[in-house]
Structure formats: C-alpha cells, structure tokens
Symmetry: D3
C-alpha cells in the first residue's frame, strides 16, 4: 500500500482534523516523503511493514528498523508545538528515521479520544465496563479524550488495583488515592496524564477516576471530592490505542509489529 494511501485512511478513521486546534502534537505523518510525481521522482513510497509503539524515540526507531518496518506509528511523536531546529535529540531521531527509510505517523489526542479504537475505550474494555453505559468523557474544548461507564459487578478498591496491575506497568505498582466509596461501579477514564479531569469526574458522580500518571494537586482534590483515583501508569494505560491500530492496519493486508517498551511512568 502506498504511504499516502495508508496515512490518508488513518487520518480519516481517526478524525485527525478535529483535534488540530487543541493538540500540541502534530498529528498525521510527522516525518516522511510525500507525493512527488511532478518532480520526476517516484510518487509516495510503498509500505510493506508497519511497526506500532507508544513512544517515538531512539529505542523504538531502532526496534522498528530491526523489525524491518518502513513506517512507525506512535501515540507520542517527536514534534510538540513545532520544531525550531532539527538539532540535538531531534536531529538524532530524525536522522535515524531518514537513514533507515522509516516514516513516522503520530496520533496523539485523536487516539485518546476515539470511542472505539482509542486508549480509554480499550481500557474500558479491559475493565469490563458495560458497553451500553459508555459515553465520552474528558472535555478539552470541542473534543473529548476519555470515556466513562459502569461495571455490572462492582469492584472493590483492591480488586481494581489488582486488575490494573496486570497492565504493562514496567514493574511499578499502580498507586491509589483511596478517598471514594468502597464499591466501585461508575468509572471515568482518561489515559496518560488525566488528573486534570478529576473535577469533571466528581461532577459526573463517578466512584473512581482511572488514569496514568499523577500530579501533586490531585491528592487534596480527590480527598475533598470523595473520589478514588487510580494511577496505573502513563505507558501502561496507553498501549490500547496503538494495538487497535495494528489490528486495523493488519486487516488492510499489511504486515504489522507491535513494539513494547514500557517506561514505568
């Protein structure tokens, strides 16, 4: 499949354009050649093998190259708020991509917010929240970047912690701010760095907020709101989206590899 065809399909499926104004990440193709028919060079290159990873970094670029991929798809990319220069760390990673003929496609908030393929949707599946109770959660301007729903059978706090410990945590246990009810049915999810939505979670009346990494201020906010917060790890909560994309692309007849590099954060 041509690179431009593949990235076009992903952009459409993930509704990339809708997140342009609220995301510091450049979404879509971040590094790679375009269609260049006019110049006599070949048009957009073919893609035979796509690697998927949570983070674009030296480690995953190397792993994707070793796997023989010509496209790397990640949730966290290399460009945040634009590049002023291609020097230092950016030069190292861009030049590694160039030298290995590896293109980079990134989907940050579009892959958080997607209600089927997204990180929160995948974690909601993992926690077994009832499909017909699911609704978008985590407002960011005109979009949402999370999901909430209810479990038919209530979790106890320890039980839910245990379930989350089964994620790819890099060996670091989930941390719990145990300020809510003992039985947890209604759960709000914003993967990655989601404690800023504690207020929205409290207003929505959920029993718990599940997210990845914490910030100091959420401790007292949770304590005063009476909501339990599970910090299960930024990486650990965000493997779902790229795995879902791997399935999607695999279904288009392209070879895929999912790369694991947990950070413990």
């Amino acid at each position: 499949m041509q690179l431009s065809t593949l990235t076009g399909r992903l952009d459409e499926r993930l509704d990339t354009d809708s997140y342009a104004d609220v995301d510091a990440s450049t979404n879509g193709l971040q590094v790679g050649p375009g269609d260049l028919a006019r110049t006599g060079r070949d048009s957009s290159p073919g893609v035979d093998h796509v690697a998927f990873a949570v983070d674009a970094a030296a480690a995953t670029i190397e792993a994707a190259t070793d796997a023989g991929a010509d496209l790397l798809v990640t949730h966290h990319g290399l460009v945040w708020g634009g590049l002023d220069r291609v020097t230092g760390r950016e030069y190292e990673n861009v030049s590694a991509l160039v030298e290995n003929d590896l293109a980079l496609y990134v989907s940050h908030l579009p892959l958080d917010g997607h209600q089927e393929l997204g990180n929160a949707a995948g974690l909601a599946d993992y926690l077994g929240l009832d499909a017909d109770t699911r609704e978008p959660f985590g407002s960011l301007g005109p979009v949402t970047i999370g999901q909430r729903g209810r479990a038919s059978d209530a979790y106890g706090v320890a039980e839910l912690r245990e379930r989350l410990a089964g994620l790819d945590t890099g060996g670091r246990d989930p941390h719990v701010l145990d300020f809510g009810p003992e039985e947890i049915r209604a759960v709000a999810i914003v993967t990655g760095s989601g404690v800023d939505w504690l207020g929205e979670a409290a207003e929505a009346g959920v029993d718990a907020l599940v997210t990845g990494e914490g910030k100091q201020q959420v401790y007292h906010e949770a304590r005063e709101a009476g909501v339990t917060v599970f910090l299960a790890g930024h990486y650990a909560t965000e493997t779902f989206g790229v795995e879902a994309l791997a399935d999607l692309v695999s279904g288009w007849g392209v070879e895929t590899t999912v790369l694991e590099h947990p950070t413990g954060l």
Copy 2:
C-alpha cells in the same frame, strides 16, 4: 505582629514581585483581611501563631485551626490563574478560613527559586552538595526555580536513592530512571514537577536530575541524554521551603507550627 507587617516582611525576603509574571499562583496574602483604618474597623489583625504546610487544603486548614494558628503559610495555595467564582471546593476552603479567622499566605515559585530558603536549596543541603559549587538552575523566563551543585564524595545510584528515601515520601519509594553514569557528583535539582528541565540539566553536564514527580516523556529524554533522573516525590522534595520559613518567622518572635501531610505523590 500585625498581619500586614508579617506578610510584608515575607514578600520582601522572598522577592515575591519578581515572580509575578511567570507564576500561575497568586503569591503573597491570598485570603485575609487588609489594613482598613479608614473604615473605623481595626487595622490589620495581629498574628500570634503561624502554621506552615506544603499544601493549602481542607486537611491543613483544619490542622492549622486545631493548632490555634491565625495564619497559614503554604507553598501551594488555593488560587491558580485567578478565581472566577468562590463556589464548590473553593467555597469550602475559603469559608473554612473565614470561619476560623485564619489568613492564608502563599509562596509558590518564589519559594522554589530562593537560593537560601527555597526548596531546591534545602534539598541541596540535605544531599550535602558543596556550598561553593552551588548555582541557580531551572530557568523560567527571567527567574530560576532550582539549584545545582556537586557532591565532594560521589554517590552511587542506589546510595542516592536511599538518601532520598529518607524524605517524607508518604511511604512511596523514590523511582529512578537509571541512564547516567554510575558515580554521581554533579546534581541539578528542581523540586516538585521538574522534569521539563532535563534538557537544561543535560546541557549543564550534570550526572543526575533530582525532582519530585515524573512525566512520561522524561523516560526517553533521559535515556537519550544519558542523565539519571530521581523522582523522589512532589511533596517529599518540597517540605524544605516552608520549614525554612517557619524558622525565619520563629526568629521574629512568633509562635510557629509545621504541619505534615504527605501525599505520596
């Protein structure tokens, strides 16, 4: 001592004005009465007992009240980016202050950046960095909010982790991203949430960055820069500043209490 005299002295000592343009926190007196001589009411009230805590929250307001304080001094306050309303959590905490005749004084970045009284300076003392190697670190516009220096005797990674585990961590172990040299001499410190200064740390050529809480992106940045990052806890690294202020105020002949409420974050 009159409240206005005491807060005036703190503002001067901490150079509060210099941080006004870069800090989302309102620094100085956040909640409390002013001088009102004109109106026939008494002027600024007297302060007999000052409580100190890292966070202004329901728990610390209650503890300060129990201690008999009439002023609470904290590093994290109640007003970030201004208040649109005094409702919800803000109403609960402001009304608790009002009903208990407790004023609130806040020093956020000024207390991070102060090179003697500040959080980073205190942590540098705790780590035994040589006084004559210390210099300001952690640029934020025109100010700095951290400190760096060298230890005469090199730390091993495990040894430095152990030392940091002695802080008030709320029972949660320091986390280490061990990507730097085995012997650690040059250390950069930004307490609280300081991983955004990893790049400055790498440029400065330090062996390790010590901070409080982490973010996902620092993993690969540290790995690629070859710098070890110690995440010792946001709360745990920020008790130094308020303790130094307690000593200062105590020296002015006012009774003081230091409140502990570790968050584990």
Copy 3:
C-alpha cells in the same frame, strides 16, 4: 427549594451561558456552596428566602442578612474579570456572606439583555413603548443588551425627563443632552452605562437614547448626530431586572425581599 435547583432555573431562564464570552462579570452563582453529596456532607442547602438588589456590597449584604435571606441576587456582583486574591474589600464582603450563610447569585449582561425580564425591557414598559414595535438593541458581539421601540404618543423632551425623574434616582435629576427633535417617538434604551451605543442609535434613526450614566465623549457625538440623550442614572435605570426576578422567584413559592439602595449615580 435547593440552592442548586434555584440557580439552575435562573441560569436557564436568563440564558446565562450565551453571555459568558462578552461579560467581565461572572454570572450565575458567584459565592456559595455546591452539591457535595460525595463527601458525606449534605448536598446543596435549601433556600427559603431570597433578597434582590442592584449591587452586591457591604450595605446590601447586611440588609439581606437582616431580612433573613439565605440567597442574595444582584445585577452587579463582586467578581469582575476574576479574583486574584480574596483580600481587602473582597475579603470583607466574601467573609460577610460566609458568616451569614448567605449565597450570592449574579446576573449582569444576561439581565440587561433579556427581552422580557431585563432592565431595558422593564424601562421600555415604564416608558410605555408599544409592545409590537420593540426589538433588541445594543449589540455586543453576538448578543444584545438593550431594547428599542416607539411610543404611540410622542413625548416632549421635558415630558420624558419628567417621566424619568420618577425613577429611584437617589434625588439626582436626570440630565439631558438636548440635540435631537422636539417630539420623541423612537427611543433606544441601554440601561446603566450605555452611551457607547449612541452610534448604533443614530444609525437606527431613533429620536432619543435613554441610558443611565454619561461619559464626556457622548456630548459631541450626540450633538453631531442630532440625537437627544437622557442620562437617568445607572442605578435608577437598573432596578427593573432584579424586580422582575423577584416576581419570578416569588412565583416559585419562595419568600422574596427587594432591597433598595439608590446610589444617585
């Protein structure tokens, strides 16, 4: 009636949300407790008695307290452009509200612009402008904050001044910039501080603009445009809205008191 129910009804009736981007005033509940079921405290408190006033200030907070109110509804509140601190005058007034268990609900531009309950609508009624000639006037971005219409029987200038002198002016006569036609039929109204809409009034071809307080520049603008301006007092032209809200709330079965405190401005 629960506080949250009552403020919710007011917000809906006054279309509070539509004015959020153009009003420096925080509209809706400005000071007061929210629903806090999660924390084990009681939920939103009950409201038995609502006081209404043009201005939120020490005088009206005291009067509302004396009247036994648990909610004060005003047109001008305490928060304009957000609060950086709760100190000085803000501390005095917020603490008076807290200590007297009095909540504060504010409706500024929504109560100017409402075409039935609003200040301009009430003043148009008082002046006897024909109902079927009324239309929104006073554009401010996407909303309007006044009303215009025609009187079946023309007013003379002195006659209209006399009629306006019957308002609650605090003893200060209306001031007239008499530059328009002798007979006044078409009248534009922006209550309070409305002389910035003189240009819109001239374009609309009205005979007179009726507003509250003046500004120097309107003198020559009115003279050159040939429009008569009536300055009837900021307070005097803005009692209509809160009186209409008192009627509304009274109809919901809640006791109400309208407080008068004319400013002469």
Copy 4:
C-alpha cells in the same frame, strides 16, 4: 513658527513618547501636513495662530476656524484606537479641518500626567494644595496620570464642593459621595474619568478623591473604603492642561485663543 517645529517642541515638553503604549488616543499631530521638501511642495506650513480646546469636535473646529487659527490643540482628539475609515462623523470633522487649513494636535494622557502643565497639576493649584506635598498619583502601567497633595488648611466637605462649583461646569453642580472624614486635608486627583483609582487613593490614605465623571461602582467602593469622592465634571476638571499649553505657546511668540465649550459632563 513652522508646524513641525511647534509640534516637535510640544512632544518634547509633554514627553509624548512615554505614553504611547498605554493611551488609546493617538498623541501628537493627528491631522495635518508633514514636511514634504522632497516633492517640490513647500515644507511644513507656518503656524500663526493656535486655538486650544478640551475636545476636538465640530463645534470647536468651527470656533477655531472663526478665530482664524491654523492649528487646534486639544486634550480629546478624533482618533481613538486608530481609524478604519474616514467616513461618517470622522469624515465630517476631518474634512472640516482640511477645508479650513486647520491642523489638529492632541495630547491626552501626556497632558493628564504632566506634573506641571497637566490637568491634575492645574486642579491641585486651584485647590491650593501645598507645593511641597505634591506627588504623582494615578498609576497606569509605567506612567501616572494624576497628582496628590495636602491642603495646609483643611477643607470641609461643603467648602470643597463649593470651590469645585467654581469650575466651568456647564451649570451642573458637583456631586459628592460623602463617605470620608469631615475635614479634608489629603486629596488625590485624577481628572476626567478617574474613579478607577479609588483603590489607590484608599491605599494612599487620602481623605478625598477629586475627579470628573462617576461610574456606578464607585459608590459602594467609596462607602466601604471610607473615602469621599467629588465628581466635579469631566470637562470642568480638564480645562487646566490646555490653558497651560496656551500660556506655553504664547510664550513662544505665537498668537493663541482658548475656546470654551463646557459639556456639563
């Protein structure tokens, strides 16, 4: 004297450049020809007669023309925040200037803030405030636009009102918000529209704020701060500056006329 020489001298004396960032008014030459030596036309025209008025408007342009002036100097000009078009009222006034070969020079905030020639300085003279107690008052970013000082012999409230009634009020009495002490010694002055500096006046501990026009909100602010506010009229308090400029220009050997057109506002 050449027009460019005269306006250059005024700009220098009034320190026009220092107010550029805080004043919506374009200060300096607003309408008129420049030096055009290159084009073969004569260079900057000569000025034989300068008229002075508080406001630039049809009435004063006509009066200046009748007086035979070729330059009109005013405190309030025609350009506020820039002109998008020269149409409507702006066309009428600009074309009247052009057709009568009358240039327009404007000094707004520079003429409020000047500590000798300015409006507040002139009013302080009129009120007999002691020269050695005078200091700048009325902060607006990096500049000040008023003055404060003390009277050796205290005024009573009625006495000060009487003194202010002697200004060119257009027949409208000064209005007093009588919330301060009976004896008035320390007085802050911001002419024109100055009630926004009530807070600074209260902090400075003055007995009274003297200004021109009022706004609704100052009533309760003054009441709660215990400061008396005198509203003596925007026009009435701002004749001092242009009169001082007339003296200055007269001293340069140019004929001058001071035009009076009180607005009663």
Copy 5:
C-alpha cells in the same frame, strides 16, 4: 444615484463582509460622507460619475478629479491595518479627496476572490481557460482569492509568456521560472502577489502558476515542485477587476471612466 445606495450595492455584489477578518485593507467606503439626515444636512450625496483605478494614489486622485468623477473605486486603497494619524502621505491624499469632493471606495480581496468579476476570473477569461473547468483557488482562511482551470489547447511556455506580455505591463516583460512541463494545460491564478500559493498549486497538480510579482523564495520552491511560474506584473494582472466593476456600474446608468496608470511592478 445616492453614494450610500451605490456603495451598498457594490458591498452586496462583492460580498465585502466575508473578507473582513482576513484582509488588512478596509473594504467598502474608505473616505467619504455618510447619511446624515438627522443633523439637518443633506443625506448621502449623489454620484454622477465614477472613476476606476487599480491604485488609490495622488496620480489617480488627480486623474479622477480631472475626469469629473465624484467617486473613485480602486483595488488598492489608502488604509491598510487602520490609520493612527491623518498626516504625511495620508494627509496629502485624504485632503485631495476632500477638496475635490471625491469619495473613495475600495475592494481588495473581495475583488481578487470574486469568481465572476474578480481579477483572477478576468485573467482566466483572457487566457481562455475553459469555463467548465474553473474552480476557486488560493485559500486564505475561509475564503479564496484566485481561480484555476484548464486550457483546451495546451500553451507552450513561450506562447503563454507572449500572451501575458499583451497585458498592461508598463513596458516590463513577464518573467518566467521555467521548471514545469513544456505543455501547459492546467493553470492556477492568483493575481498581484501570489507566489505564496505555489504549494497549493503543486498539490493541485497544475502545470503553471500565473501571478503578478515575485519573491525570492519561489525560485527554489518552484524548481523543487516542478511547476512553472509566470510573473506577469502586479498591476498588469489586476486591471480586470476594476474594469468589470466599471461595466457593472455603467449598467446601473452611471457614467464611468477607467483610469490607467501602469506601474511596471
């Protein structure tokens, strides 16, 4: 026809309002009197003769006056980004308009973008692009300011240059950056200064971009994209719009004159 009627018709036909947010030019009536019925003066003046020119400048104002026009309609006006002062060049030109009772109406981007009357549409006609292949080109926020289409018979590069040399070039030959195919069928047009749309032209797959004036950066952009760029002159490519307006106004029964003043740029 009354001035206000004529300018109203033009604004409607050209959809002036739609370009307000993206155009630095003030479009519509820039200099001239408005309806002033209220003031006893006559209402909007009558227009008997309209002159049309590409640029508003001393030369065209003089020529329009000589032709006996009372309205000048131009593509480039006198106000870009607002006027702070009416001095220097602006004074010379505004006063020439005033003294000759000549109003100025400007249509900048609306006249570039109009798909029938506009500059690009007129140039597309001149080049004989097929009517049914035409579509809007040249995106600028929500509007477009050019047109593209195909020629049934392909042009050679020299042939197209020859055709463009027939425009009113002021004697300066078109310049060609010959980096595209030899046969030119698909052509994108942005008149005036249009090289910033080279990227959009390349994406659209056209053979050539035709515009007026060049900028250094387009050389390598065109070379790398393989698109030929014709620089036919800013003035030369922008006579079409005002000529079309002259026809339009002539059809309303008003006398018209088209003024030519090529700039060679």
Copy 6:
C-alpha cells in the same frame, strides 16, 4: 574545527541572539548534530570544509555535497516560523542533508544587519559610499537591517543602474522607479525585500533607496515621496554577506567554497 566551536564563533560574531524576537527565520545551526558526550557517542563532529550559498535548497545542498563540504552556511534557510512536520519539500531537503552528513547553519537578519560583514554593508562598499558617512538604516523593532551613506562623487540615475547591473543578477536588468533627483549622493540600502523602508528613507532625506525585489505599493509611495528606488534583485543584492562569512571562516583555517546559484529574482 569542531562544528559546535565553529557555529559558536559565528553566533558570537554575528550577534545572533539579538535578532531572535524579530526574525521568522531560525538563525544559527538549523539542521545538524549537537554535543552528545554524555551518551557515549562522539561529541560534535569536525568540520573540514564549509560551503556558502544565498539559499538553502536542493540545488545548493547537492552542490555543497559535490564540493565535499560538511557544513553549508546560507542566508535563507529551511525553517521559517518553525516546522510542524518534516514532510514534502522539508523532508527532501532535510534527508539530503542527513544522508550527506552535511549540517546547515543559517544567518538571515543578523547577516542583513551586521555593519561590517552584512549584505547592506557589502553593497555599500560595492557602491563606494564613503566610510565615514555610513550609519545603520532600516529599523525593525530594536535592530536595523540595512545601512545608509553618501557617495563623494554623485551618481547619475543611469550610472547607478549600470553599476548595479554588474551584480550577479541572473541576466535580469535592474528596474528603476525614477522619481527622485537626477544626482544621487545619499543612498539608503536594505538588501533583499526592502521597499517597506521607503518611508524611513524619505524621512532620512536620501536621494535613492537601493533594494532587491519590489512590491506594487512602492511605486506610488516613491512617486509621492520623490525618492528613486533601484530594484537590483533579491539574490543579486544578498551575495555579499555569505562571501564575507566565507572570508571569515577561511581565516580560521577551514577550507571554504562559495556556491553561486542566481535566481533572477
């Protein structure tokens, strides 16, 4: 010489930092590796051969590679206003740099404004302007980007045009807007795209402005100001700066090559 040493010297000599706030170009090292001692890789690479060109583009990257350079220094770079993506044209050029181990250093406005090494200074030398009459010209916020001075022997217009035709114009004659005096002594220079400084040139009283490329609006501005404008070509006027840098670097003992690729613009 190490790359980081060489670019550090250039930054210091050209005062790169002073232009950071006014230049859309990223100045300094735009593409290339940094010091990476920490990571175990070698530190900043050595530079043996530096190529210099006006523009960074496919053509000059190829020529620099053919010349055996490991650093390309240009006046116009690849990054303007930051990069959102490294795709399309940016990918082609960045990947060409990477694959050929060629770093890119850019100096845009610093190289226009430098009073000895800069483009305008070089052109002033070429025109023989007297050294002791030279002064900075062409204000852009806090910096200047041109130079002005006087020729001892006056030029005639044709003579100066002839002199400018001797530059590397790519075969396109200089264009003259001949509206000033016949004898040209005082000359202002802003190379590249400098017609926006026509007004400053007129105020400075020069006889002619010499720049590179034109814009439509300068025709009437020059005509009305009575200043002659020489448009000698953007490329042609901007070879001086990079040539001066080549001499400088050559003096540091590094091999240099100056690449010529005139654009005719």
